[in-house]
Subunit: 425 residues, 2 copies
Amino acid sequence: MTGYGAVPASVGEPAEMWRFGTRGKGLRDSVIRALTKQLAGRTGLVSFAGGMPSPLTFPDAAVASAFEAVMRQDSKAALQYGPSDGYPPLRQWIAESLSSASVSIGADQVIVTSGSQQGLDLLGKVMLDATDTVAVETPTYLGALQSLGLYATGFLSAPTDGLGIVPAAFDALLSRASGAGRQCKLLYAIPTFQNPTGRTMPLSRRTELVTLCARRRIPIVEDNPYGELDHEGRRHVPLLELGEGNVAYLGSFSKVLSPGLRIGYVVAPRPLARKLELAKQASDLHTCSLTQRLVFEIVRDGFLAHHLESCRALYGANAKAMTAALARHLHGLAEWAEPSGGMFLWLTLQRGLDATALLERALAANVAYVPGAPFYADSPDHRTLRLCYSTAQRDSIETGIAALGRVLKESTDAIHHSSTPGRLA
Amino acid sequence: MTGYGAVPASVGEPAEMWRFGTRGKGLRDSVIRALTKQLAGRTGLVSFAGGMPSPLTFPDAAVASAFEAVMRQDSKAALQYGPSDGYPPLRQWIAESLSSASVSIGADQVIVTSGSQQGLDLLGKVMLDATDTVAVETPTYLGALQSLGLYATGFLSAPTDGLGIVPAAFDALLSRASGAGRQCKLLYAIPTFQNPTGRTMPLSRRTELVTLCARRRIPIVEDNPYGELDHEGRRHVPLLELGEGNVAYLGSFSKVLSPGLRIGYVVAPRPLARKLELAKQASDLHTCSLTQRLVFEIVRDGFLAHHLESCRALYGANAKAMTAALARHLHGLAEWAEPSGGMFLWLTLQRGLDATALLERALAANVAYVPGAPFYADSPDHRTLRLCYSTAQRDSIETGIAALGRVLKESTDAIHHSSTPGRLA
């Protein structure tokens, strides 16, 4: 038996045979991937490192009834090839759910994707060339940097504060970039309960940003996986409603139903939607016929309204538990804003502390987080880190944050000692 | 209410806002897509234009039992995010099913994809730059031209005969291309029951081809969706077993279980498998957790052995019915080879007939096929067309082929008349 991969030297080693392209060479393991693998199977550790919705929110019973209904009504179609742009009733439902008094979305503007991550990939594929520059928030979703970074190599990191992109500063940055010959091709933004920071742009700033981008003719890709997870159930106006043809919108059922079903969607102006449909066909023909029907069967009669209440209640309670624990254990060691929705909380450690460097100690103390650095397109703030509160048990939150507090306290003490003349930490 | 897509002229039309990249500009509707849309909802027409497995082969009952088992044992994991490379037990099963006396595949060489179409996309993403040249069979799978063509713009159309690529002629072509400065980066081939021609390479030629590619250091992408559909159940040795590290293999459950579940896979040498895993993560994070488990639950205990017998029997009988009808109605009007597996039959019309030009007349006569031209990377043979016999009813095959025969007969008569001096057809 010959081991696959072993090639006689005379015909060349496999590594020599398989010469990767530019994109292939650039693909690297991320810090988060490495961390996830390191944590897999570890027990006794409290992890705030994930980015997953709580399995407590997964609607097992609704999935089971939907499966029965789909197979009874439509089993052959659910198992057959389907259209590249998606299952028509689901596209219609999505279009209606996004239409409002101020915007009217047609089903022909909706392309169903394998999660909204695929929407990013398709947009990159259709819109970007290697020499293009994409503007992103500071910091931003790592998966967008990875996905769009395979198509365009330049990022412009838009200045932000606790309320998201600062329009005037972004405008000035665009002028400087343009002066240096870099035109911005797209803006990618997560205006509501952003990953990783949890922050949300207020309406006035959304309007300013959309106006600025329209004036500069920069189309916006709005990613909105967390928009319905306001802990108090408040509605946040998507840029899509303000953007008038200047916004492509990425939505997902991953955070509100189940990520394992991989059902997301892109809503785009019609000429772009047609290109995305063709790119979707070339990429994987179409999204799973069965799971598209499952999701439609679940949501068609208003299931989400009640279901979202329980998601919001769980995440709101977890967020409160985490901020209370932070106040108890990290007072003076870090700063944070209380999240009002989504799944994430962003910490900025006090001066002198480095979240990447401290991760090993945190893991030794049985608590995990994601260092903030990988979320920056450039110039990372090494004092930042992301905590995810969606999946943790309430008592684990207390244990984990207490452990994190001890690690930070010890490290702070070590800094102070080492900075005292004549003493070594 | 503002119609989404309508932008005040002062801030630029959407079409102006959304400037597509090179790939986006190049994406065009295919003849097959246009045809599929034209046929949708038409009744009374016999279509041999599809490329879908018969819904009669879909294992509804097995899918339903698998769903029950998965949800009972593992519902939360089936609805949660999963690893980018796929569900480990399914990867293990795939590795074992492909291992033989002559090749040993590890689960770490398997990446589960959303159909094997996505395997093509990931390979293109990782391996190809815009200036690269990819060799393909003459003709080849249109979806591969579309998918790989988004990453590499040059194709080399390898000379073929009824048994697939002719190694000596391919070698000569590679020398000429190389002399003109075009190095071939990859060979994409479907050696078994090819789409569109239905032909299969004999073992001797497979060995020659693999040896030739190894000598020239050209890695092979072997696409094998139909390999298990030999009408008599014969086994065809995949290039993977002969290639020793020089072959990436695309497999799929689409033609043997259900295409709607979108479960395919790539098997690759380890360094390439790691790159594909990262490209998969950037593309859509991972393939559906639920449907991966459904497929594993169905196939784990040997379901396919018995199931494939019924698929083979159905397709074999349909192929026989079609070749019998062709002999009755197309004698002297076209040539074809009797297929021994898969879903397709390839027709070459007699001199003077053009399959693209005749399609309208065929549709008017209530029979549909796919013209052969779009399957050629260059210099199409306009006399060719593809017939799919998997989904047609036995009596429709007779009706449809008879109609096609009448259309060809009338057109042939018209040619003969028009070539008679002094007469107009």
